[in-house]
């Protein structure tokens, strides 16, 4: 089945099994390996991508549902040369360790900050609580989000 959607700003068409997970389509058909698989059950958030402005676990998302949608992956966040302020803040705050949860965390942060310019600490914690990190203890991740919040 042919499915067409906007991926990182570009219109694309993919001919595949409509039930194929968006995660696999991104990684296999588009070679966008920045989206990671941590659990395959929507429990860890490593595969988070942005679909029409919402954060979505791409491991639970059949590609047929992507028809006509606008999808942003971590590769689409910076324009190739300049880092997005969220990415910069993650580096500066020391919010990155192993880096496996980072793409999902960064994208979840983007969705939060797109919706709310100045989220409270509570709102930050709530928005990112679906993304597991086993390395950082989250402290520096919150710091990174706050950094962007202040700049905005």
């Amino acid at each position: 089945m042919k499915i067409s959607f906007k991926l990182n700003g570009k219109r694309v068409i993919v001919d595949t099994d409509p039930m194929k997970r968006l995660l696999d389509v991104l990684r296999e058909d588009f070679n966008l390996t920045g989206t990671k698989e941590g659990c395959g059950k929507g429990e860890c958030g490593a595969c988070s991508v942005i679909v029409d402005g919402k954060i979505v676990n791409s491991c639970l998302f059949p590609v047929c549902q992507a028809e006509g949608c606008e999808i942003t992956t971590i590769e689409g966040l910076s324009d190739g040369e300049k880092l997005h302020p969220i990415q910069k803040a993650f580096i500066e705050a020391g919010a990155v360790q192993c880096g496996f949860c980072t793409p999902g965390m960064v994208l979840a942060t983007k969705v939060l900050l797109d919706k709310k310019k100045n989220p409270t600490d509570e709102e930050i914690k709530e928005a990112l609580s679906g993304n597991l990190c086993r390395c950082t203890g989250y402290v520096k991740i919150i710091e990174a989000v706050k950094k962007v919040r202040r700049k905005k």
Binding site: R27, L32, T33, G34, T35, K36, E37, G38, C39, G40, K41, E43, C44, A46, T73, I74, E75, L77, S78, L83, Q87, F90, I91, E92, G94, V96, Q97, C98, G99, F100, C101, T102, P103, V106, E122, I124, K125, E126, L128, S129, G130, N131, L132, C133, R134, C135, T136, G137, Y138, V139, K140, I141, I142
Partner: protein
Amino acid sequence: MKVVGKSIPRVDAYEKVTGRAIFTDDITFPGTLYVKILRSPHPHARIISINTRKAEKLSGVRKIIKGIPFEEMKKKHAIFAIGGCIIDQLPMAANKVRFVGEPVCAVVADDPDTAEEACKLIEVKYEKLPAVFDPRKAMEKDAPLVHPKLGTYKILPGFYPVPNSNIYHHYKLRKGDVEKAFKKCDVVIEREFSYPHMAHCQIEPHSAIAIWHSPDRVEIYSSTQSPFIVRDFVARAYNLPYSNVRVYAPYLGGGFGGKSDVTIEPLLVYIAKHIPDRWVKLTLDREEMFVGTVVGRGVVGKYKIGAKKDGTILACEIEYILNSGAYGEYGINVLCGGSQNSTGPYRIPNVKVDGYAVYTNLPYVGAFRGYGHPEGHFMAERMIEILAQELKMDPVKLRLKNALRAGDKNAIEQRLTKANGNLPLCIKKTAQAIGWKYNSKNVEKVKDGFIARDVSAFMKSPVQATNAHVTAIIKFNEDGTANLLITTSEMGQGSSTVYVQIASEALQIPVEKINFIRKRDTEFLAYDWQTVASKGTYAGGQAIIKAAEDAIQKIKQTASKAFRVPLKNIKYKEGFVYVKGKKLPITKFVNGFMFPDGRTVGGPVVGYGIYTPENLQIPGIKKKGLGEGQGNISASWTFGAQGVELFVNTKTKKIKIKKIITAIDAGKIINPKLARGQIVGGMVQALGQAIMEKIIYSQEGVNRNPRFTDYKIPTLEDLKDIDIQVIFVESPDKKGPFGARGLAEHSTVSIPACVANAVSRALNIEINEIPVNFIQISRR
């Protein structure tokens, strides 16, 4: 110092925030085939037959591979079992399965879904055997034997299996005379403890992609902390020249010990051997991460401690039993590290430790951040707390009174010096930061419950092989930049960044001029034992400094030849060579010195440096003049203390952590921000273990919570309003690079003890079992 001590950003951060960092599962080669493993549903059973006919017919299935019995392997395939210290495992079960989750059969197919589908079509007939899950029961005389042939297994000197039992190693530590000493004590107490199996929960699942090039060459890309150990195990198991085995470690999405030694690699190579010249890939799913690879912890113990009225501890007697699961290679040294350090960081003149590594029909235990220390310290620090109550003494004062300090000898008879750090200072700083009130209960009644505090101490040594070498190579380029080559795996701990800082400081050139080579590849890079034991900075750093010194020496040698002056008259400073009153940039020397007429002296500068643990000894081999298990076992020590303040709700029995603190004397801190990141991350992991985490097994040894919704690890929600503090005490180390010691595991060590102590004191109960949750509290 110019860069050591500064928080420069991670060298790998840019790749990681842009999603460009390559992890193993991101790699595929043309024609890659996919592997799925059929796993045992029984904890202990004989395999009667495996019928693969239906599965073979499925379109897209390329190969189905079964295990081959040990004896047959030896004869036909020259394939031997897996192991180093104890060789007790086959890459895939044959004849017999020993835990639920053990690989029984593998399907290789064009895609993962087909492989999984085919696994469902395989019919295996088993004959169930009696199983044993409790390590104490496994030690009983009539217990079912997990390995009846234990007595025939190859095992290295210094390890003591008990044939015809499930005890595959009995580690003994003897210091002084505990019997005599207990008689002199005014107070003697004895307690039992238990610390369950836990899962590492790295967010990146284990992944490997391998090819067996016919006839005898193997390449493996793997999410491993230990490329050289993987090479060693694979080469020995499959009788290959080491030169023909290439192991490459891309970025790791977390390791925490669970990706050390070997994991899925020998199995995947076994599969690759059956379908040569094709890349085969195996990535575990999340459930397999819980049931199909190493688990952590799993200790029960008995602890007896005795002291004089004034609080002087005279003796302790410890039984430390590791519920090691079905195979021993990965747990055998965890048992040594854990039991050896189960005295806690205290001066105890009489010590008797019996550590037992025991086979059971559960998944096997491997390294997990802290390497046995959290389990041993949980017992030790609970005992100090209970002892303080018996003595009616302030527990922090009791700790301070007995804390190891310069001049003391530890349990293994090493004399400590100032360069090992300042434990009393760490304890005092923690007590101050947590708001400890001396000579008070440190429990306050508040609405719906109590607020309580605790301070506990820790020590950790990098438990390592006596030949745990690390090699560093610094290769100068013609423009004066340098490539730093070292095989240490980057799993988030930040060693790449710290290494660049150390190299920059030692070479006296800016960090921007140093390119850290990200390819951790046994084919091109030199030996680095493995990335474990918080030894990266300590050991790798020493190797880098030596490589830098070697490179500088070579630059000077070229200058000496070029200007015909003795070496001693040449000075090197900050990228410049000072010779005959001239100041010349190193670019003139790093690729040989060229005279105006083209004649050249000297050559490309490559610095080489090694770290090798000096005079280290194997714990289990008796040394002259020392007690059993004693000797120079630990290359270094890091001491510290941790504090917790928590609220326990007397109605709901729920615990809310309010504050956690670690004060650590890790010597010179090379990169404060990264160091803090490690310590905070470790504390939060430890909090999870203290109050949330536990693998739950059914009566039949089946893991009942193999997913994140059931095995909960801390999320941001759990960290609401927690004040987390890190305090560095920086007593410089004698050998460590610029005075640094290891620090990455240490913050996991005493948090569970702190939580149990605080809750126990708040509620006037005794909690000697992890995790400390409402079930535990309600039971008492």
